[in-house]
């Protein structure tokens, strides 16, 4: 019953979408908006009925049967809704329509521009809705009666991963509204400041959500995959990173508020690029061309369908872009070095980094198609291409917000410069003592430089405004705060990769293992029976010079339904370092364990948290 309701409302949402397109030219605005609300309401009901089928474990629904099990905890039953291809595409539709709905309350834009944006967003929605209805229907009925489902992939049964898709999609799919806005601006030929303001708000929001989604994914990878790292340059990570980088360029170029048309064209180009990269990523993953955790069931027809959607949207957008974009006769004020130049450098660097990642992701596919050889483009490639390319951007970002628009004077410029030299030498001496590599040196130098100069700039502004401090002060210094976050994250990234130490040991229960000034005692081994899995938990106690620090409990789980073993790392988060443990196999009555000492990992999460928060603060502007 629930499946039928869901499907009917999915169709209703599609039909009211058609209605929006059909009644667009009518004078009756009310009907137009009612249809927007109706379309949104129907997709919400449709989505909720799928969720309800998951909650009550209605195995007459084929999708529920394939991806759920009655023994799972309620939380994972709920989040199982989007833990599969069909369900996640329904979530995609929901979010696309949610943006349409929210956008209909916009009060800044002119009616014409607003309606046009809604029209484009609806067209996008219709394309994807057709995709869901024809190739990935989550409401198919099971042809036989079954008592029990096949279960959700165990590695998806985890809290941060269960909220990862909605948050990531809010950014990833949210870029569709950016595209619609850009296209409507082009179409109406009204690229005024109101348009830029709206675009900035929405893109900043989407970008912040995407950041949060990606960070959540990496945090999950950190404790769930059990490899001690948190970013692996996996094709799927790259795919989420590309729109993120393009979005980063967009958010920065939107700061420019002047009338330079060339920049408006560039902004439109970036807006199209963001969503184009999102769809391209979806195509690569869902068609099974790139295999990963996210490749649910690889299906040839789905791939083709998304490819067609991709070509239609991108082709159409760029066509309008070429026809409608105004020619530029004005000059932009490029100086060495003012804010405009800094933003241009940021954009160049981002676009080059983005295309490098795209090339690296697609190259193995191209090579395989052309000469039938398999190569892998892994982490070392990206580390030695993307990171050096980003370097000038990182160097610049610390002073960029302090630069002026019109002149090439940097207040306290000399101070920054001497300061930079001083930091270089301090870090140089430090890296000779600690035997760090080049990357260690460069990373720490950049991080310290960004952190200190951002703090310095905030401090200077604080001195100026000491008499009347208001919320406005935070808004004005928001760019420094965001960059401070980046600096902190870079410090965490560098230290945790360069100074990571790894210990591999075989241990018996009650045995101890000594490293540096620490002692790790293997206290006991417990077997716990949960509802949907069995687990072996190793109980370890960490002492520093006989002083109790913490209990660390790495775990191995066996999921009976899907017959999969997963590892759950045991982590002790000390403010300055993480003690990260993996319980390995049992050889000859001894347990192999891996212990990583990851210095300053928490700074990565702290830094990105600051970035996200300042992204949301920026919405207030």
């Amino acid at each position: 019953m629930l499946s039928q309701i869901g499907f009917v409302f999915l169709l209703l949402s599609f039909i009211s979408g058609l209605g929006i397109v059909f009644f667009y030219n009518l004078k009756k605005n009310k009907l137009f908006y009612y249809l927007v609300y109706l379309s949104f309401l129907s997709i919400v009901i449709s989505f909720l009925s799928l969720m309800a089928s998951y909650i009550i474990s209605d195995f007459s629904n084929y999708n529920v049967f394939q991806n759920s099990h009655s023994s799972m905890p309620l939380l994972y039953k709920i989040t199982g809704t989007w833990g599969n291809h069909e369900g996640s595409m329904l979530l995609w539709l929901l979010i696309m329509n949610l943006y349409n709905f929210l956008f209909s309350f916009n009060k800044i834009l002119q009616e014409k521009l607003k309606k046009l944006t809604i029209l484009f967003q609806t067209l996008l929605f219709l394309l994807f809705c057709a995709y869901v209805i024809f190739t990935s229907n989550p409401f198919l009925m099971n042809s036989i009666n079954v008592e029990e489902g096949l279960g959700l992939n165990p590695i998806l049964q985890d809290f941060s991963l269960s909220i990862h898709p909605p948050i990531l999609y809010s950014g990833y799919v949210g870029f569709s509204i950016i595209l619609s806005l850009a296209l409507s601006g082009l179409f109406a030929g009204q690229l005024d400041n109101k348009w830029i303001k709206t675009l900035r708000k929405w893109s900043l929001f989407c970008w912040s959500m995407l950041t949060a989604g990606i960070v959540l994914g990496s945090y999950w990878a950190y404790y769930e995959l059990g490899w001690g790292g948190w970013w692996f340059w996996d094709p799927v990570e790259n795919i989420s990173l590309m729109p993120w980088i393009a979005g980063l360029a967009l958010v920065h170029s939107l700061i420019i508020n002047n009338k330079a048309i060339i920049l408006k064209n560039w902004i439109i180009f970036l807006s199209i690029l963001c969503f184009a990269l999102s769809i391209l990523g979806t195509f690569l993953v869902r068609s099974g061309i790139l295999t990963s955790v996210h490749t649910f069931a690889a299906d040839y027809t789905r791939g083709i369908f998304i490819l067609i959607i991709f070509l239609v949207i991108v082709g159409f957008s760029f066509l309008i872009f070429i026809i409608k974009s105004s020619e530029n006769k004005e000059k932009i004020n490029i100086l060495f070095i003012n804010k405009t130049t800094a933003i241009i450098i940021n954009n160049l660097v981002m676009i080059i980094a983005c295309s490098t990642i795209l090339l690296g992701t697609l190259y193995p596919i191209i090579i395989e198609v052309l000469i039938n050889q398999r190569i892998s483009v892994g982490a070392p490639y990206y580390n030695s291409t993307v990171l050096p390319i980003l370097l000038p951007g990182f160097l610049l970002m610390s002073v960029a917000p302090a630069l002026s628009w019109t002149t090439n004077k940097l207040n306290n410029g000399k101070f920054y410069l001497y300061f930079f030299i001083l930091i270089s030498f301090v870090v140089l001496i430090f890296s000779f003592i600690s035997e760090s590599s080049v990357w260690g040196f460069v990373g720490i130098l950049l991080a310290v430089w960004i952190i200190i100069s951002s703090l310095f700039s905030i401090f200077i502004n604080l001195l100026k405004n000491i008499k009347n401090l208001k919320f406005n002060f935070i808004l004005k210094n928001n760019a420094f705060i965001a960059h401070l976050g980046v600096g902190i994250a870079i410090l965490g990234i560098t230290c945790s990769t360069v100074f990571k130490t790894e210990y591999k040991k075989n241990m018996n229960v009650e045995e101890s293992f000594y490293f540096k000034s620490y002692e790790l005692k293997f206290e006991s081994l417990n077997i716990v029976e949960e509802n949907n899995f069995q687990s072996i938990i190793g109980s370890f106690i960490l002492y520093k010079k006989d002083k109790f620090l913490s209990k660390i409990e790495p775990e191995k789980r066996y999921y009976d339904v899907s017959k999969i073993i997963t590892t759950e790392a045991g982590i002790y988060h000390h403010p300055f370092q993480d003690f990260y443990m993996i319980l390995g196999d049992n050889n000859n009555e001894r347990w192999s364990i891996i212990l990583y000492q990851n210095p300053l990992v928490s700074l990565i999460w702290l830094g990105t948290f600051i970035m996200i928060i300042s992204g949301f603060i920026g919405l207030k502007k």
């Binding site: 160049l348 090339l359 190569i375 892994g378 410029g413 410069l417």
Partner: protein, 132 residues
Amino acid sequence: MKLYHYSSKVVFIILVIIYTLNTNHLQAKNNVDEDFEEITKKLRCMTCQNQSIYDSETEFAQDIKKIIMNKLNKGKSQKEILDFLVARYGEYILFEPQFNKKNMFLWIFPFFIFCISAIFLFIRINKNRISK
């Protein structure tokens, strides 16, 4: 244009520092265990998903580890071992794509457009500077 002048000097100094550090880094290693770790981290476990031989415990990874340890003990160099494995399993086993004719575009492209855009930007800025 003082800032302009200073910055180029600073960048130069930094490059020199990076260079000296780099050579320093290359000299310090020659024992078997470190070599072993370094090699196995460069290799993909072909039966897993984006995991290195070093991190993996699968049968395939165990076999490769044995081969590498054997060869290292016989005094084979890192390059010889990698060449052997590539000949046997194909280039797919290497995380880092080799620098050869086929992968030329992959390696050159990023730096090429980087340099082109840097030169272009430099010319624009310079032109602006002179015209003012």
